[in-house]
């Protein structure tokens, strides 16, 4: 069990996502920076489906009620255990009673706390990913008790760590592919999509990132059809919306681009005011 002493800004339990219910309109959810989440699970020898805590900008304060091992990946938090700094991207042993603090992220936006075995919160429709209307709890609250899966590996594995490439947090470039409605755009707008540097709006969230700088462009609405995380939509009034993990499953705006998975992970680490630029690439076979 882990007790939440204070909640931070927005922390939620996420895993690889909720698949098989998109035809009922249920979003897939899951870790925004799936790359960082997977890294934490690997450091702990967890299955890649193991649930983690996704932490946004200002982290929570947590008290461990049992021994385990943790790994913190993603954004540049400066975590401490009992007020002693611990490294990111490293497996750390935890004793009963230890207090973990995250502080403020110096770079990036989303951090991942993995625990050995994974969090054991409620499973709904095959996933622990928290989402309003699906799971009872949708974000961390002060006083919550988070169950963790017990693991017989505690104490048996030596340390593990990896070096994180800063490119993941500061590269402007977002690799993407042409979307279903790309060819309907006039040639000069197609070009503009690659040449224009865009700014991330502070209104961005787990549902969608809003990018400003394409106000000169616009696209007609389409007959509603499926959308997925990573879909870049352009509205008739020139708003550029990048759908993220909690996005709805269908939509009526033109789907002009589709981000690569890696670009989605990188965009998840961008904050309001950051700059990004699309680079259109050919799809791999």
């Amino acid at each position: 069990m882990i007790k939440v002493i204070s909640a931070g800004i927005l922390s939620s339990i996420q895993d690889v996502g909720r698949y098989g219910y998109r035809d009922s309109g249920v979003p897939i959810s899951g870790s925004m920076d799936a790359y960082a989440a997977q890294l934490a699970n690997r450091l702990l020898g967890n299955h890649q489906d193991a649930a983690l805590l996704e932490i946004t900008l200002i982290g929570p304060v947590l008290e461990f009620r049992e021994p385990t091992a943790i790994a913190i990946t993603g954004a540049g938090f400066t975590p401490t255990i009992n007020n002693r700094e611990i490294p990111l991207n490293t497996r750390i042993w935890i004793e009963k009673g230890d207090e973990l603090r995250f502080g403020l992220a110096a770079y990036g936006l989303r951090g991942y706390l993995g625990v050995m075995g994974g969090f054991a919160t409620e499973v709904v429709l095959g996933s622990r990913s928290q989402y309003t209307g699906i799971t009872k709890s949708t974000s961390l609250k002060k006083g919550d008790l988070l169950p963790i899966l017990s693991s017989d590996k505690v104490g048996k594995i030596t340390t593990a760590s990896v070096k994180e490439r800063m490119e993941h947090f500061n590269s402007k470039e977002l690799i993407c592919y042409k979307g279903p409605e790309f060819e309907l755009l006039p040639k000069h707008i197609q070009k503009l999509l690659e040449t224009q540097v865009l700014e991330v709006s502070s209104k961005s969230n787990r549902m969608a990132y809003l990018l400003t700088g394409l106000e000169k462009a616009s696209a007609e609405e389409i007959i509603s059809a499926a959308v997925q995380p990573g879909t870049v939509q352009l509205t008739p009034s020139g708003q550029c919306i990048v759908l993220m993990r909690d996005a709805q499953t269908t939509g009526g705006y033109a789907r002009i681009l589709q981000l690569s998975e890696r670009a989605m992970h990188r965009l998840s680490q961008r904050r309001g005011g950051d700059h990004v630029q699309f680079r259109i690439s050919d799809l791999p076979l």
Binding site: G133, A225, G230, L285
Partner: protein, 242 residues
């Protein structure tokens, strides 16, 4: 009428199969037919499919070659002649059009020039086709609204619409399965749980079903609501033979 669809890649692990961009029951029939074919033959390669009006989205497992599988689907579908008899239902949805629920009835009266009784009569006499679900978990995109009932959306959307609200937005009608913001004209409310995680299936409606609204009184609304809460309400539905 049966034109060959286009196969379009949609990012690293997805593709779309697209027919002519119109809202048409025949085209939607093809969307569901392909969906059936894929669920029978390609469950190893494809996680799930999402139908819409004129498109089927295919979501592939991560280690599958999308272009290879698309070729196989295309080849197979060309010679696939079955018209599988999917079990579709006619579902009766009770709706209370009482003024305590019908927040925008006056707007619809003013816009359509019809009386409240005429609006209710027209709204309940149509059988609506469920094209697909989306927007919110359990939200049905229904086709077939009587053109006389079409009413433009509110100029500024409401921040809160009650779960179960039945509304008209432009030339569409729908049911809000959960409380949400929204800009449609609310003309009534159903006591049914359109999206229910505890139910044997999580949504009452599926793509391909048909809906008929049945007007109920405020008293019946309370009665059904209680039955729904105690899991003893039996939804009126019958198998369609078409």
């Amino acid at each position: 009428m049966k034109t060959a669809p286009l196969y379009i890649r949609y990012g690293e692990h997805a593709a779309l199969v697209r027919w002519e961009a119109v809202i048409d029951p025949m085209i939607h029939h093809e969307v569901l037919r392909l969906r059936h074919f894929i669920s029978e033959k390609f469950s190893e390669e494809i996680i799930e499919t999402v139908p819409a009006y004129h498109e089927l989205a295919l979501y592939f497992k991560p280690n599958v070659s999308v272009s290879e599988v698309l070729k196989k689907i295309k080849r197979g579908y060309k010679i696939y002649s079955e018209h599988p008899s999917e079990v579709n239902f006619n579902v009766k949805i009770p709706v209370c059009y009482d003024e305590k629920f019908a927040l925008d009835m006056e707007r619809v009266v003013t816009h359509t020039g019809l009386s409240k009784a005429e609006i209710i009569a027209k709204h309940t006499e149509t059988t609506y086709k469920v094209y697909f679900l989306g927007f919110l978990p359990g939200f049905p995109y229904l086709g077939g609204l009587d053109t006389h009932l079409a009413t433009p959306r509110l100029e500024s959307p409401r921040e809160y619409i009650e779960k179960g609200a039945v509304a008209i937005g432009g030339n569409q009608t729908g049911i809000y399965p959960s409380a949400s913001p929204g800009g449609w004209n609310i003309i009534g409310q159903t006591p049914l749980q359109m999206f229910d995680l505890q139910g044997s299936q999580i949504t009452i409606l599926r793509s391909g079903d048909f809906v008929q609204f049945v007007a109920i009184s405020a008293q019946e609304f309370i009665w059904i609501e209680e039955k729904v809460a105690s899991n003893s309400y039996i939804i009126e539905k019958e198998v369609r033979h078409d």
